[in-house]
């Protein structure tokens, strides 16, 4: 219940952060919202000897929207995203209310969640569906990386000890007619996903799918985008038959494990059901906008 002792720094600039990272290397952990790290430290599952609290880096807590896309600071809290209005990126607002519980969302950050790299976390699935990339900075360089490459393994990312995840960048969708759903099976509020499916679909004027993103949580050792399934959608008219076809396909992607939350077979089936339900809702929504 009481973390092991550590030294605490609250730098005011990224330069100071780099200095501390250079000094302490992998003894140090970066503290953002703390909603993943502190619980682990309380149970002493993590015991970093140095904590670098980046909470004072104001420039990382805001977002900029341009014609190219949306750039979100890594310190944006889940709650801020939940209550922001970005019509081009409906999946963000669909996903945020499913994260943890309302109190944790007030404190937890999107960057912290991604850096924790829990395979069942909701942002991973959603941002992969959105084709997001991350901006990683260190004293010597700034690099951009597709989120897919960022997730290396269970709780493991491509971040190096001297680096900081600073921004998440989402490209603007192919069309303005972008619809999204996040479907999650949780055993209760606050639970990680048994299975989570993030869907974003941009439709052309004629109703064909211009762009599709399907991200999955808890269906593998890392969150992943179901590319095969996405490609089945693109260029085709969204119909119940197509939805059935792609949901079958989606259930075959990934490599879920059997555990207390359900068998691999069950999880695959949930992925299928959620893709089918999500796309059907999107189809319905599109049809209602057409008739209106």
């Amino acid at each position: 219940m009481f973390p092991s002792a550590f030294e605490y720094y609250a730098p005011k600039t990224l330069d100071e952060v780099y200095g501390l990272l250079a000094q302490y290397g992998d003894e140090a952990k970066i503290l953002a919202g703390g909603q993943s790290l502190l619980p682990m430290m309380k149970l002493r599952l993590a015991a970093p000897s140095v904590l670098i609290d980046i909470g004072s880096l104001g420039q990382l807590s805001s977002a900029t929207e341009t014609a190219e896309g949306l750039s979100m600071g890594a310190l944006m809290r889940h709650k801020t995203i939940e209550t922001s209005h970005w019509p081009h990126y409906p999946l963000l607002r669909e996903t945020a209310p499913w994260i943890a519980d309302p109190l944790v969302r007030n404190r937890g950050t999107i960057g912290g969640s991604l850096a924790h790299a829990d395979p069942a976390a909701d942002w991973g699935a959603a941002l992969l569906a959105l084709g997001a990339s991350v901006q990683i900075e260190s004293r010597d360089r700034i690099r951009h990386m597709a989120l897919e490459e960022f997730f290396v393994d269970l709780y493991t990312t491509a971040l190096e000890p001297q680096e900081v995840l600073t921004r998440i960048v989402i490209p603007v969708p192919a069309t303005a007619a972008t619809f999204a759903r996040y479907l999650k099976l949780e055993r209760k509020v606050g639970d990680f996903a048994v299975v989570g499916v993030a869907i974003t679909v941009s439709l052309a004027i004629d109703g064909t799918v211009a762009q599709a993103g399907i991200g999955m949580a808890a269906m593998s050792g890392v969150p992943f985008a179901a590319h095969q399934t996405e490609s089945l959608l693109v260029g085709r008219q969204l119909t119940p038959a197509l939805i059935k076809e792609v949901s079958e396909s989606a259930s075959q992607e990934g490599d879920p494990e059997s555990d207390r939350r359900g068998s691999a077979e069950y999880k695959r089936s949930m992925a299928r059901v959620f893709v089918e339900r999500g796309l059907s809702q999107i189809l319905q929504q599109w049809e209602s906008t057409q008739s209106a």
Binding site: K188, R261, S269, M270
Partner: protein
């Protein structure tokens, strides 16, 4: 809307709770809020293994941590003859492990330090070498001849703890053999934990100068704990002062004595300083008393018309490493023999075998009278199977078998005398509230549309209020309870009881009982519980016993006050006591109703103007030994829909009609019902302490031990019938636990009902979505 405590004739009214003004201000005083000068903190080192021999414990590193004052091991306790302590069930339990550990998270060493953080730091640095042994996790495996012996300390060299049986085995077998219809079902009630939001803890404060030990503890039974502590520690009982402060929920979890308690007392005795121990949530769930873990097989015999002829039950009870059940001593399986429920079985037989496994010890009565949830769940589930077998509506099978109201007092075949009930009326009220016919119609329509919709009924009978001294004791102490009332000169009163509430509202409800007897208002009666130096001896609050026992004592102590008061009133009214009558609010001179005096005049006179020769003062104490238990009952109806895609079950309606006899405060009763239903829902759908095959606890915290939030918890609809208990002084029966006892079967019966067209008669709880989905899959019903 609730009404103020200044209302006259408060019994039966929704009086606002007197405890709330401090609690809504955050000014309750819970255990961890108490800080004493010079206080030290304790933390425990625990075993990572379920079964292992301890080879060596090295403390040097741990002692290096700044602030560490002392470290205690089982070897130290052995020298004091304290390495084992008695359990309430008559077994014994290791305080700190010596020789070997028998469950994961078992207590191995205790560190006392200047701060909690330092104590935890030192715990991490205690080096313990273990030699892992083969764990026994499954209770059936534990009974096999070649199973590893867990309890080497016992003379008996197997893992069997006890065999207990009740009823007529032969007559039951004969009746089953000659019954035209027999149904049999294996029903498992998995291991759960009460998990109140406040964990357990204590502060032991031994003052060497006075020789007095003050022990602050999260205790549902402070007086019993003082006696146990006196017996275990050898301290004289009058030199132990137990204070049970505000308690953040108990549900049975705070009845037993835990190793951490004993260690903190030992440490305070040794160091002469106060020692606080507050368990973490993980420690709470993984080590303090669990509940259930009953594996039950039941057979019901019946006629073709569905009239029951016999009930036979065999049960394996998994107690973990030590039988730490908190049952009355003569009842190793508690009051499980209530298993014939609300039905008039001519014969019955039940047997229970207790088993040791490498799991945490227990089990307590979690929001129920001892093992009554298990019994109710079993009978209500198997009656459902009988209804399915005979193709009878579940309401109808119950009606045909209910104990009829004219049969009360009813002698059950397993030995109980049910006090009162009107089961048809309770069921009818529930069916009316839920509009059963309409519900069945809706179900048929939705089924036709391909939906999986089910309706479940549970009509349970509880047995609470342990209990009469001829039958019930804990370690020999009879299970009466008590109340002492003092009326002060200005007509205000303080009353102290042997119980200890944990949210049930005693500060209000017992004030209502007393005030109503004495023509006062609840505002004028201060209720105090939980301090053994001031309160009269009692056995505490659990098993819905407070109202049946201490509630009776409160009414009778008040009547004792009235007996004296009437003499004083006569003196004041200048008439003979025979000419004074109590009109419910005042003492009036017969035939002269304008001449009356109330309790405030009488109280003043008791100290200022007494009849010649009368002893001054106005006080009474009553130790109430109830003549019988009470038997609350209820009828619950649940409607559920199953998602064919995910296996999720949605509770769409839930109507609970309870009959707890006389209602003291309807608002409090409803609150108790809401809470109990929610815990019953948790047990049916989410809460389970599961272990892997190595004996690792898979749900030791709130991430994995799932308790419902406001989102999962269904909306509850409540109703009531009132059939007073004929023997209780005010006719009340107790209610806190009925909803937890009665509801799990209603949920499961509803899920089974949804699936019964496909041949399903049983599903195992908790009903996690994947588990329901597996059933759907097998039946080809998945989406």
């Amino acid at each position: 809307m609730a009404i103020e405590a200044t209302e006259t004739r408060p019994l039966g009214k929704a009086i606002k709770r007197k405890e709330d003004p401090r609690l809504v201000r955050g000014q309750g005083r819970y255990l961890d809020d108490i800080v004493l000068p010079g206080m030290l903190y304790m933390a425990l080192a625990r075993s990572p293994y379920a079964h292992a021999r301890i080879k060596e414990i090295r403390l040097d590193q741990a002692y290096q941590v700044p602030g560490v004052k002392a470290i205690l091991t089982g070897a130290d306790l052995e020298k004091m003859n304290l390495s084992w302590m008695p359990t309430l069930a008559g077994d014994r339990q290791m305080v700190l492990a010596t020789g070997k550990v028998l469950f994961q998270y078992q207590e191995v060493a205790a560190v006392v330090a200047e701060s909690r953080a330092a104590a935890e730091d030192a715990v991490q640095l205690i080096e313990i070498d273990y030699e892992p042994l083969a764990p026994v996790v499954d209770p059936y495996a534990a009974l096999k001849a070649d199973a590893p012996l867990l309890r080497e300390d016992r003379d008996q060299k197997d893992n069997h703890i006890f065999h207990w049986e009740v009823g007529d085995r032969k007559a039951t077998d004969d009746a089953l053999a000659s019954s035209p219809v027999v149904v049999k079902e294996f029903i498992r009630m998995p291991r759960v934990h009460p998990a109140p939001v406040e964990p357990c803890g204590c502060i032991a404060d031994y003052q060497k100068a006075t020789g007095k030990l003050t022990w602050y503890v999260t205790s549902q039974a402070p007086h019993a704990h003082r006696t146990v502590l006196a017996l275990v520690s050898g301290l004289p009982e009058h030199m132990i002062h137990v204070i049970s402060p505000d308690i953040g929920g108990g549900f049975g979890n705070k009845v037993p004595v835990y190793p951490g308690y004993v260690c903190s007392v030992v440490m305070s005795l040794q160091l002469g300083r106060p020692v606080k121990w507050v368990e973490t949530r993980t420690e709470n769930i993984a080590t303090t008393n669990f509940a259930r873990d009953y594996h039950m097989t039941a057979e019901i015999g019946a006629t073709q018309e569905g009239i029951v002829t016999a009930l036979k039950v065999a049960t394996i009870a998994d107690h973990g490493a030590f039988d730490a059940a908190a049952d009355p001593s003569k009842f190793p399986a508690g009051l499980f023999s209530i298993v014939t429920g609300s039905y008039d079985f001519p014969v019955a037989f039940a047997e229970v075998d207790g088993v040791y496994t490498n799991k945490a010890p227990g089990g307590v009565a979690y929001r129920c009278s001892f093992r009554v949830t298990e019994a109710s769940y079993l009978i209500e589930r198997v009656m459902n199977t009988l209804a399915l077998k005979l193709n009878l509506d579940p309401a109808e099978i119950r009606r045909r078998n209910f104990i009829r109201s004219e049969q009360f007092p009813y002698q059950s075949p397993l030995g109980w005398t049910y006090d009162s009930g009107n089961y048809d009326a309770t069921l009818n009220e529930a069916l009316k509230l839920v509009d059963y016919e309409q519900l069945r119609k809706q179900q048929a329509e939705r089924r036709a549309g391909g939906e999986l919709v089910g309706i479940g009924i549970s009509t349970f009978t509880e047995i609470v209020g342990a209990g009469p001294s001829n039958t019930f004791d804990i370690l020999g102490i009879k299970m009466f309870d008590s109340c002492e009332i003092r009326i002060h000169p200005t007509g205000k009163a303080i009353a102290r009881l042997g119980t200890r509430h944990q949210g049930q509202g005693h500060e209000t409800t017992f004030a209502q009982v007393i005030a109503d007897e004495l023509g006062m208002t609840a505002a004028d009666v201060l209720i105090e519980e939980g301090d053994t130096d001031t309160a009269p001896y009692g056995l505490g609050t659990y098993a819905s016993r407070s109202t049946p026992t201490a509630g009776g004592a409160a009414a009778l102590a008040a009547r004792r006050i009235r007996q004296k008061a009437i003499q004083i009133a006569a003196h004041l009214l200048e008439v003979s006591p025979d000419d004074v009558e109590w009109n419910g609010e005042k003492f009036a001179a017969k035939g002269l109703e304008s001449r009356a005096v109330g309790m405030s005049e009488v109280a003043l006179a008791a100290y200022t103007n007494l009849p010649e020769g009368m002893e001054p003062g106005l006080e009474a104490t009553y130790y109430y030994d109830p003549p019988n238990l009470t038997f609350p009952n209820g009828a619950y109806v649940a409607m559920v829909a199953i998602d064919r895609g995910t296996g999720e079950v949605k509770v769409e309606r839930f109507v609970a009609v309870d009959d707890c006899g006389t209602v003291i405060n309807p608002m409090v009763v409803d609150g108790q019902v809401h809470g109990g239903l929610t815990e019953g829902f948790g047990i049916a759908f989410m809460q389970e302490i599961a272990y892997d095959e190595d004996g690792n606890n898979l749900a030791p915290n709130f991430m994995e031990y799932l308790v419902p939030t406001a989102v999962e918890a269904p909306h509850w609809e409540t109703g009531r019938t009132v059939t007073p208990s004929p023997h209780h002084p005010i006719g009340a029966k107790g209610v806190g636990e009925s909803p937890n006892v009665g509801s799990p079967a209603a949920f499961v019966n509803a899920v089974v009902d949804a699936l019964s067209p496909y041949g399903v008669t049983n599903v195992e709880i908790p009903l996690f979505p994947w588990k329901v989905w597996n059933v759907l899959k097998e039946l080809g019903l998945t989406q």
